[in-house]
Structures are given as C-alpha cells and as structure tokens.
C-alpha cells in the first residue's frame, strides 16, 4: 500500500480553480518530484498535503495517508486532533524560504526542542543530545555554538539545514521539501541535495521534492508530476518521462533543459503562463501548444494511460 495517495485534489479561491484534479501516489522509500513553472500551484499543493491552507481556499478530494497497521486516514477530512499527530511526526515539511520559516526571536536549539517537546516527554539531557545529533545529521558543524544562535546569525545554507533539522525532529516518514535549494547558491544547492539523498537512504525517508530544476528531478526522483497552471500535464516514472515525454509541455521543458546541457541558446516557448483568474477554456496549455487540435479549446483533456506507470492529460500526445 502506498504511503500517501492524492485523489482528485482541487483547490479553488471562490470560483477560481487554482488546482484541478491532481492525482498521485508515493510508495514508502520513493521520491516524487513535482515540477512546473512559478505559479503553477506547486507550493499550494504541498500545503494542501498537510491541510494548512488558509481558510479562504476551498479544497476538494482525498489525501490518504497510510499510518501504522495498514490503517489509512484522509488528511483533508480529519480533525485537528488527528492532524496534530500527523503534522511534524508523520509528515515533515521544509519550506522554500528557510529564513522566513524560522522564528526570528527563538534560538535555534530551542526551536528544535519545541518540536521534540511535543513529540515526547524526555528529560533535558537526552533532549539536548538528540538536538545535537539532529544538527550533525543535517551537516552542521560546531553544534554547541549553533544551538545558542538566532536564525539571522546563520548563513543561508545553514538556515536551510536548520529548517531541515526541525522538519526531521519529529521522525517523519514523509518529507515534503518545497524547493529547498532554490534560495541557495549552486554549490550549497548541490551539497544540500546530496544531503537529502543520503538522508533518504539512511533513515528510509519518503520524499516529495518540489522543484523547477529538471536536473534535480532526474537525479533524485523515481516519479514525476508535471504541473501546468494548476493542471497535471503528465505523471509517471521519471525514466519514462525523460526518455519519452508525452505532453507537449513536458517536451518543451525538456527541450529547454537539453539546450542548456548542450550550451545552446534555448528556444523559448511562445506565449505566457495563463492568468489564474481568466484561464483559457479547455486544455490550459492549448494557446501555446504546437500540437493543438480543435478539441483542445473545448474541453479539458482526459487522462491517458500510456504504459500503466506513465499518464498524460492530452488529446494529442506525442507517441
């Protein structure tokens, strides 16, 4: 049974749909990469998974999370009491902007111990050694000094590692990392992703990695979910998508990626991302699509099963 399964998740603000019919599932130990442009709903989807969206947004669908003993619960319809036992303990989350996600007036050590305090009542000494070991796990040196520092005294990379330490403090089985490396320079990015990958194997972590860097997705993910303007364009096995993209949007992304790898000038996709308030009818990608057909402008494309582990939502997929 998969660890987390999302069924037809739709999020809307009033009558404006922001996410529409998102489906995916992640097995224990797997990594799912969610890729897409800025504003396609990646971060929103992450928050939906923990049910921490603002109340102004309405959510539909089911998110099944497999808790122990083959029992699963629906995160979207559970009460706060149950969610408290899930958030932080079963599912950890690292936000895009690490510095903003750390409380500016609490010292680093205390911020971790806060999470531990909720998790279990342990005495001060074991708690402290647990905090030190967490800081070491995420690759921070000089842990006794960092324990007493405020977040603003850390560098960007250290803040990101700090956020990871907090997310791991509750021993989660699933880690949602929302563009964890986008605010880092490229060397720190590489180190951070290596760290994530090592941790994943060391503590058998299941990972949902949000990224707009295809390199990251190809290097780490077993599965990929390609979003475009709140809709799924393509979902499936990373290798399949990389070698045989079916959706024209994925194809365009890959072409640009390939151009960069070969040091060519990439050909930009014509048009621009549709505004959420006034999206095009039918397939949201059709005004920019080179394989557009009359049907594309009329209704949203249905799910098409390509190989049992590779799906696309397109009337005219690339075969």
């Amino acid at each position: 049974m998969s660890l987390i399964t999302a069924e037809n998740i739709s999020v809307s603000l009033g009558r404006t749909p922001i996410l529409k019919d998102i489906n995916f599932s992640v097995e224990t130990g797997e990594t799912l990469a969610i890729v897409g442009e800025t504003g396609c709903g990646k971060s929103l989807l992450c928050k939906t998974l923990l049910n921490i969206l603002p109340q102004s947004l309405s959510v539909n669908g089911n998110i099944w999370f497999n808790i122990a003993d083959k029992k699963r619960i629906n995160i979207l319809s559970s009460g706060e009491q149950i969610l408290k036992t899930i958030r932080g303990k079963e599912i950890g989350m690292v936000f895009q902007d690490a510095f903003a996600s750390l409380n500016p007036v609490i010292k680093c050590g205390k911020q971790i111990s806060d999470v531990l305090a909720v998790k279990s009542k342990t005495d001060h000494r074991t708690k402290k050694s647990r905090i030190f070991s967490l800081l070491e796990i995420v690759g921070l040196a000089d842990v006794t000094r960092i324990y007493n520092l405020y977040p603003h005294q850390l560098s960007g990379g250290m803040q990101q590692r700090m956020a990871l330490a907090i997310a791991l403090a509750g021993n989660p089985r699933l880690l949602i990392a929302d563009e964890p490396s986008s605010s880092l320079d490229s060397i720190a990015q590489k180190q951070y992703l290596d760290l994530l990958n090592r941790l994943k194997h060391a503590i058998n972590l299941t990972l949902i990695l949000v990224t707009h860097d295809l390199d990251e997705a190809f290097a780490f993910a077993d599965k990929m979910l390609v979003l475009y303007a709140g809709y799924t364009a393509e979902y499936g096995n990373t290798v399949d998508i990389r070698t045989a993209p079916a959706h024209p949007y994925t194809k365009a992304l890959l072409d640009i990626y390939q151009a960069f790898r070969e040091n060519r000038q990439p050909t930009p996709l014509p048009g621009e991302i549709p505004s959420l308030g006034n999206p095009p009818a039918g397939c949201r990608f059709h005004p920019r699509c080179y394989r557009v057909q009359p049907a594309c402008a009329e209704q949203a494309p249905p799910k098409k099963d390509l190989s049992g582990r590779h799906y696309t939502w397109c009337f005219n997929p690339i075969e």
Binding site: K84, G88, D97
Partner: protein, 278 residues
C-alpha cells in the same frame, strides 16, 4: 545584563527617560523613609512656609513638608498608574490575541466593543463613576484599566494578524504544534516590541488621568495624597504660596516626559521602520 546596558547606550532619549524615571521612583520609594517629617502630621505654626533649609520645597496650609508629601504622593500616583496599566495590558493582550488569532465572529464582536468603548471620553466616564461615590483606590485602578485596554488590544490584534501569516507560524503549524503553543511561543514574542512601547506610553497617560481626577477631588481622597491632590491644595493661594502648585506641577510634567522619552526611545530601537540601527 550587558545587553540591557548596550540597549540603554544606543538611544539618547531612552537614556534620559530611564534616568528621570529611576530618580523619581527612588525619590518616591526611599524618600519617605529618609525624611524627618511625616507626610500627614499637621503643624499649623509652620503653615505656608517658603522653601527654606528645613523645608526645601516649603510647607502647605497645614504646615506639612511639601517635599515629603510629594515623595509620598509619588508612591500613590505611580502605584495607581502602574497597576492600572498592568491590568489594561493583560486585558488588551488577551483580547487582541483572541481577536487576531481566532478571527471570525469573535473578532468582529470584540473589535466593535473596542470601537464602542473608544467612543467614550475616558476621563469623563471615570469622573462620572467616581463622582457617584466609588472612590476607593482599588476602584479607581479598575476604572482606569477598564477604559484603557482598547488601544493595546487593537495594536496586539493588528500585529497578530501580520504575524500569523508569517511563514514561521505556518511552519509551526506544519510541525503539528498546539495552538496555545503557537500563540504564546511563536506569535506573542514577535509582537512584544510595539506592545512594550504602547505600555510605556499608557503609563504616562494614566498618570495624567489619575492626576486630573485627584486634582478635581475625585481620585485619591485625603488624608492620602497623590500629585494631583497636592496640585489641588495649591489652589488655596496660587500666588502667595506658589511653591505648592509649581513643584507638584513640575514633578507631574517631569514624570510624564520621562515615560514619553522612554516610549520614544524604545520605539526607535524596536521599530525597524524608523531606520535607526541598534
């Protein structure tokens, strides 16, 4: 402690304010213990003495030493102002937190209540209540607190509103922290800056209100004395016995200026928008 001294050194007006208020507090707390006179023992043979070596600030109609009375009055004025502020801040913070964090209908009800209470002229309502005969010190403190928590509540509410949308509050939620913990550990410490500033400014405004009440004879009742009562006693002969009104007036003004200086100084330090660096 070292941090505290650094803060004091970083702002001139804060420095000056702290010095003024410390002097006044010491003056009020220790003064009566050192003075050879009792604040309330009458000595009619020394009525209306000018300032002299034996009575540095002169005496009043009953021959009581004015300096001793001002020291003693300071105790009462400051106690009333401090305790009323304390209650007002407690009420205001609780209302503000509830209103800001929970929101919805509770927020609407509480904020309309605040609007209504702010619509009353504070001094006149308290005058009315005290005039109806509720004159004990405890009641005066209660009235003062009940009519001055609203500004605090508004400030706290709007800051909570901002703070709860911050990512660190979201991430505390994502970590499954209890609501109470999020409010008191993640939101409250982040809004203390504006709260402290408005608290200090509230003290000075309550000193003025308490003095006005006492001056009108409706606050602290004789034989007790507050600065306002002493100011009132100067009305008997404001020209001949000028020292009574002048010195009690000076100490009220100095004290208010002191607290305002502290408030301004703290604002400069705590509010990043004023652009001063600490």
């Amino acid at each position: 402690m070292k941090g505290l001294i650094n803060i004091l050194h970083s702002d001139r007006s804060l420095q000056l304010g702290v010095i003024i208020i410390s002097v006044i507090c010491l003056f009020s707390i220790l003064g009566p213990l050192l003075s050879p006179y009792h604040y309330n023992t009458q000595n009619l043979s020394e009525s209306f003495q000018r300032p002299s070596w034996s009575h540095p600030l002169g005496t009043d109609f009953f021959g009581r030493d004015l300096l001793t009375r001002l020291m003693y009055g300071g105790r009462i004025t400051l106690t009333v102002a401090f305790s009323a502020t304390l209650f007002a801040v407690i009420i205001g913070t609780i209302v503000g937190l509830a209103s800001g964090f929970i929101g919805g209908w509770l927020d609407r009800i509480l904020m309309r209540l605040v609007d209504i209470l702010l619509g009353f002229p504070k001094l006149f309502v308290i005058l009315l209540l005290v005039g109806m005969g509720y004159t004990s010190l405890g009641l005066v403190v209660t009235f003062l607190a009940l009519f001055s928590w609203m500004e605090i509540a508004r400030i706290v509410r709007s800051d909570v509103w901002v703070a709860k949308e911050q990512l660190y509050v979201k991430s505390a939620e994502a970590l499954g922290l209890r609501r109470r913990r999020i409010i008191f550990r993640h939101i409250l410490p982040n809004i203390t800056g504006p709260l402290i500033v408005s608290t200090v400014l509230l003290i000075s405004s309550l000193i003025l209100i308490e003095s006005s009440l006492s001056f009108l004879g409706l606050g602290v009742q004789p034989p007790n004395a507050s600065w306002g009562t002493i100011l009132n006693e100067g009305r008997v002969d404001p020209v001949g016995a000028w020292w009574i009104s002048v010195f009690s007036g000076i100490i009220i003004v100095t004290c208010v200026i002191g607290f305002n200086l502290i408030g301004d100084g703290l604002r400069n330090i705590l509010d990043p928008k004023t652009g001063k660096k600490t």
